[in-house]
């Protein structure tokens, strides 16, 4: 499998060629960002998970192996990787320091005030509003989104950015505790099968390949044309009816999608080359990204970090 990437490279995080490249020694050289999708990793294993943080990238392959790392890993993350590698893979860390930890299967989550607080075993909140096991957990800038095995989506976070919650905030369903996003129930193309989140934008993908987006549109000028609101709305990408979407990823202020016919579209901020379209500072509308792959290769999924985008290629 191959991993193709584009975007921020301030910590040389797109270079997996050097095995010691993860913050052990101090960098003196400044590395240019990458502005078109480029193969950065080729492995005989299946890539099962990519965690892209601002300054480093962790690629999970075989469950028996530690993740491959590139970039500069903060001390707290290094400590987590060493002591509790299974937590690292699923941890959700919001930009306001809040951290939610999940063992990867059960219906209960733990919310900590910071990663340091978690590592020091300090008191935490237990979040147990979920009727079914949580199968996906992600952070956006100021909150969290979780998907259960029954296809229900829950959100919670800072009330100042209530559109990100995609639901009503009331006395019985406050912003700060997980609340069901009712608009994502009983959708025409079946239940939600995966979610994505980044910055102040959230996304849900249905079994029938419809993409729903919502969030606080005032927070990113580059995404203003998406006209996001607190109500999840289907995204129309590629043609007038909107192509079926196979995979979606959300960064700080950009989005990438893979359509079921194998095309890649991107929108948003491109300051660091995160869209894979060279020459433009941003794309205000969904823009097709041209990818040159050898014949027998196919893109299976897209992923994103705060200022990076990735393609998984088989």
């Amino acid at each position: 499998m191959e991993l193709h990437a584009t975007g921020l490279n301030a910590w040389n995080q797109l270079d997996f060629s050097n095995p010691s490249n993860h913050g052990e020694h101090e960098e003196h050289e400044e590395h240019e960002d990458i502005s078109t999708f480029t193969c950065i990793l080729s492995t005989g294993y299946a890539i099962t998970c990519i965690r892209s943080f601002l300054s480093y990238i962790a690629v999970y392959t075989d469950p028996s192996l530690p993740p491959k790392l590139a970039g500069s890993v903060p001390h707290t993350h290094q400590y987590l990787l060493t002591t509790q590698p299974q937590i690292h893979r699923h941890i959700a860390e919001a930009s306001n320091n809040l951290v939610v930890v999940h063992d990867g299967s059960g219906p209960t989550l733990q919310q900590h005030t910071s990663l340091a607080s978690f590592l020091l075993n300090q008191p935490f909140h237990t979040l147990s509003a979920f009727p079914d096991p949580v199968i996906q957990l992600l952070a956006y800038e100021t909150g969290f989104i979780a998907l259960t095995s029954a296809g229900q989506v829950y959100t919670w976070g800072d009330e100042r950015y209530s559109p990100c919650l995609g639901r009503e905030v009331t006395g019985s369903f406050p912003a700060s505790t997980p609340g069901l996003v009712a608009d994502l129930l009983d959708l025409p193309t079946g239940p939600v099968t995966s979610i994505a989140a980044g910055g102040y934008t959230l996304a849900a993908l249905t079994m029938g390949n419809d993409l729903y987006l919502w969030g606080d549109s005032g927070r990113s000028a580059a995404l203003s044309e998406l006209k996001l609101s607190s109500r999840p709305e289907p995204a129309v990408i590629g043609n007038e009816e909107g192509k079926d979407v196979a995979s979606v990823a959300v960064g700080n202020s950009h989005l990438v999608v893979l359509t079921t016919d194998g095309e890649v579209y991107a929108i948003g901020d491109n300051t660091n080359g995160q869209l894979g379209i060279s020459g433009e500072a941003s794309a205000r509308f969904w823009t097709r990204v041209s990818i040159n792959l050898p014949d027998k290769r196919a893109i299976t999924a897209v992923e994103a970090g705060p200022k990076n985008s990735f393609l998984l290629v088989k």
Partner: protein, 516 residues
């Protein structure tokens, strides 16, 4: 016009030397953080360390690169410096955007100080970069904007003395000439009637005022006007704030940035904030269209609330909107700490150092003065060590809607006139229609009533007309029946004492002759 032909070489040299020192200080601090061993419990790391190692590495690399490129001695005859790679400025912008996004991710009061530090250090690097390798246009404005943003957005953290000095050296190196402009107009398009005037007194002594505050009058002390309290202020005499030219001369020829509220009032729809140069504010909102008034506002040291916040966390609220051209208002800004050259024009009144009573406990339904306030009542807001000074500067028609503050205020009118109406703290919160929490922001200190509309001074906005119902009318009448308010028109040089908890509605009156 922008890049003056002949900067003063000596001052410019001093500024560049000062820049080198600032970069070296950043390098030293970053290196100390990155080289710290695990013994850091005994040697606490600087605040900046909380940004995490990767961002400190990035900051350190840019600082080192600037200094390395700038190694050659500064002199008129020095050979041209090697040009920096474009990536250097881009990485500085990456540091700025990363720290800037944190100002929004946290509530204003909870932003970890490390992000303000990082933003400030990156701003200093950007300033040095622009100074060493000047771009072909907007050189001076970009330099000033870079440092002003770090003051306004990040508080400049511990680098404030360096930034003030750098701005002062920059102004010495690039002296500004200021056009000669006539004083602000004193015309008023509309003057509300004063029906229950507040008593005026010349100038009380410290002890008289303390005695007035401490008198156990039911409901606490009442509003008062002092006519002679600030008559010796330079702002009213030798350094006239009524002169646009003088104000421009104190703000780097008007190039310093100020935060401006666009919209008639902060509860109006479409209200927003922006940061623009002072001269642009003057010409777009004060001299060009309507006119002016200037007021420093100095709460006494007593229970205090959060100080003015420039995070755009106060969202616009549904309320009357108007189609008139936008109003620009420099409101509730700590102008005197932002631009210290203006601070010498005012003297903090001694009265700000009195110990006023705290807010009496809330009374929800009584419409008579409550019993004696409990002077020792615990309150959520701590006493201030020193008075908070804020400034307001806007054209006629700017309104601060009916609201209360968590501290005692002295409102000093410097230029132009202001209408103020005050309601006592014991007014029923249902009658005054306290707002609640709106989009996660507590608006409980603000009333829903638009006094100007209720009194027929202003046109109601379209939404308000739709909401015209019997119930609305009944509640409006109930509010109009409240008879305990007082009002005044504050003249230049007068000071209004606003006791803590008193609801106040403030309206600028004067207007420029060019207005339609």
């Amino acid at each position: 016009m922008d890049m003056p032909d002949m900067p003063k070489e000596k001052e410019l040299h001093n500024l560049k030397e000062s820049c080198k020192d600032a970069i070296q200080a950043i390098i030293t601090e970053c290196a100390a953080i990155l080289n710290a061993d695990d013994d850091s419990i005994n040697h606490p790391l600087p605040e900046l360390a909380n940004c995490g190692e990767p961002l400190i590495q990035l900051l350190l690399r840019q600082a080192r690169q600037i200094l390395a490129l700038y190694r050659s001695p500064v002199s008129v005859k020095a050979p041209p410096l090697p040009l920096p790679p474009p990536l250097l400025l881009k990485r500085i912008e990456d540091l700025l955007s990363t720290s800037y996004s944190k100002f929004y991710a946290f509530p204003y009061k909870d932003v970890p100080p490390c992000w303000r530090r990082l933003y400030t250090d990156a701003s200093i690097l950007k300033f040095c970069h622009i100074l060493f390798w000047p771009p072909s246009h907007s050189f001076l404005d970009t330099l000033i904007r870079t440092l002003d943003l770090s003051i306004i957005l990040a508080g400049a953290a511990a680098k404030r003395p360096w930034i003030d000095r750098a701005l002062s050296l920059l102004e010495s190196a690039f002296p500004q000439t200021v056009p000669s402009l006539p004083p602000f107009s004193t015309r008023e398009p509309f003057t509300p009637p004063v029906l229950r005037p507040i008593s005026r007194f010349p100038s009380p002594s410290f002890t008289d005022f303390q005695a007035y505050l401490s008198a156990r009058k039911p409901g606490g002390p009442r509003p008062l006007i002092f006519t002679g309290l600030v008559s010796s202020w330079p702002a009213l005499t030798t350094s006239p704030w009524s002169s646009p030219s003088y104000l421009l001369s104190r703000t780097f020829g008007g190039r310093r940035l100020v935060p401006v509220e666009i919209g008639r009032s902060y509860v109006d729809e479409g209200w927003s904030q922006s940061l623009i140069p002072f001269n642009e504010f003057l010409s777009a909102y004060i001299i060009g269209i309507p006119s002016r008034d200037t007021t420093p506002h100095s709460p006494a040291p007593s229970p205090s609330g959060p100080s003015s916040s420039l995070s755009s966390s106060s969202p616009p609220c549904p309320s009357p909107s108007h189609n008139a051209p936008p109003t620009g208002y420099l409101a509730q800004h700590p102008l005197f700490s932002h631009i210290p050259t203006l601070h010498s024009d005012i003297l903090t009144p001694d009265l700000c150092y009195t110990s006023p009573p705290r807010l009496p406990p809330p009374h929800s339904s009584s419409s008579s003065p409550p019993c004696l306030p409990d002077l020792d009542a615990p309150t959520a807001v701590p006493e201030l060590d020193s008075p908070q000074l804020n400034a307001w500067f806007g054209p006629p028609g700017t309104i601060t809607p009916l609201h209360t503050d968590p501290y005692h205020n002295l409102l000093v009118q410097v230029v132009g006139r202001k209408f103020v109406r005050l309601y006592p703290p014991w007014i029923d919160s249902r009658v005054i229609r306290k707002r609640g929490k709106e989009n996660g922001v507590e608006m409980g200190n603000t009333s829903e009533w638009d006094l100007g509309v209720l009194e027929g001074w202003d046109q109601p906005g379209p939404e308000a007309e739709e909401a015209e119902e019997e119930e609305e009318e009944k509640e409006a009448n109930e509010f109009k029946m409240v008879s305990e308010w007082v009002d005044c028109i504050l003249e230049p040089g007068e000071t209004l004492y606003i006791p803590v908890g008193w609801w106040h509605y403030v309206r600028g009156l004067s207007r420029n002759q060019c207005a339609p």
